[in-house]
Symmetry: C2
Subunit: 159 residues, 2 copies
């Protein structure tokens, strides 16, 4: 399959929110995101990995300036559904490799993770699709990460 | 922001692979995906959530028929990087809601999770972008999930 990397896009000033230990049964994710939708919270990436012993974490990212909009609404939902603590952290950024045909993208993902790894940039979250590989990392590393990614993919600085 | 849901796409016969307890420091993700890329393994979704106490799980999905291609290569990498056990499971499917402008998609995500929750379909993994909300679920539930999603989004059965 032809893989074409078109460019790197970054988004600064993001916050990550994690609802920990969400019971892994139908309906819990719905409660969380219905609450956010009703409050008109704009969210970006949603990530949930598999549960290991009946619970899992659900995280999402959003604009750091919007974080106050959430207030305590998720803490209330977390209690309602029997989840654990809600964690919030500002000062993260998203870097995405955008392309087409990345379904066979273990090579593209490998290249991105490798350049970041060699550059000492820690990857906090990963979420991918056929056209985008997105990683969340510490905002202080975003310029360095963008430079590393441009070099790794042979892109000019404005790609 | 105008959100337009264009359709539902499903992919059956998927497998999920999880490398558990991956040390959350630069370079570990790179080792895993470089190994997969060198073996020409085609992967679909990659999901990694935040680490809680220095380690996190990294999961990916792939065509169920390709699972044997992985053999023991990830177990070797896991040992090398100090990760935990590698888990594999066939019999999952991916359902995606495809659209545009889903950046403000807490509403679209909420609607998808809600119809699945009400229908008793458990969501095993979540990975999203502005144009796609993908969930991984048990393959035996995929027809039911697709029907529920089409109804929830007011789409004809072939959308
Ligand atoms: C954890 C959460 O996604 C749950 N499995 C649900 O289906 O709502
Ligand atoms: C866990 C893994 O993603 C690690 N943080 C890395 O950067 O490679």
């Amino acid at each position: 399959e032809n893989v074409v990397v078109r460019g790197i896009s970054i988004e600064r000033n993001q916050a990550k929110v994690t609802i920990t230990n969400v019971p892994d049964k139908p309906g819990t994710a719905s409660r969380i995101f219905t609450t956010l939708a009703e409050a008109n919270v704009i969210i970006d990436v949603i990530v949930q990995n598999v549960s290991m012993s009946g619970t899992t974490d659900i995280s999402f990212t959003m604009n750091g300036d919007e974080l106050e909009k959430i207030g305590g609404m998720l803490d209330a939902v977390a209690r309602e559904i029997g989840a654990g603590e809600v964690k919030r952290q500002k000062g993260v950024a998203k870097l995405s490799v955008v392309g087409i045909g990345m379904r066979s993208h273990s090579g593209v993902a490998a290249k991105l993770f490798e350049c970041l790894g060699h550059g000492g940039v820690n990857i906090q979250m990963i979420s991918t699709s056929e056209i985008k590989i997105a990683v969340i990392l510490d905002e202080v590393k975003i310029e360095s990460a963008a430079r590393l990614a441009h070099e790794a993919f042979g892109l000019s600085a404005d790609a």
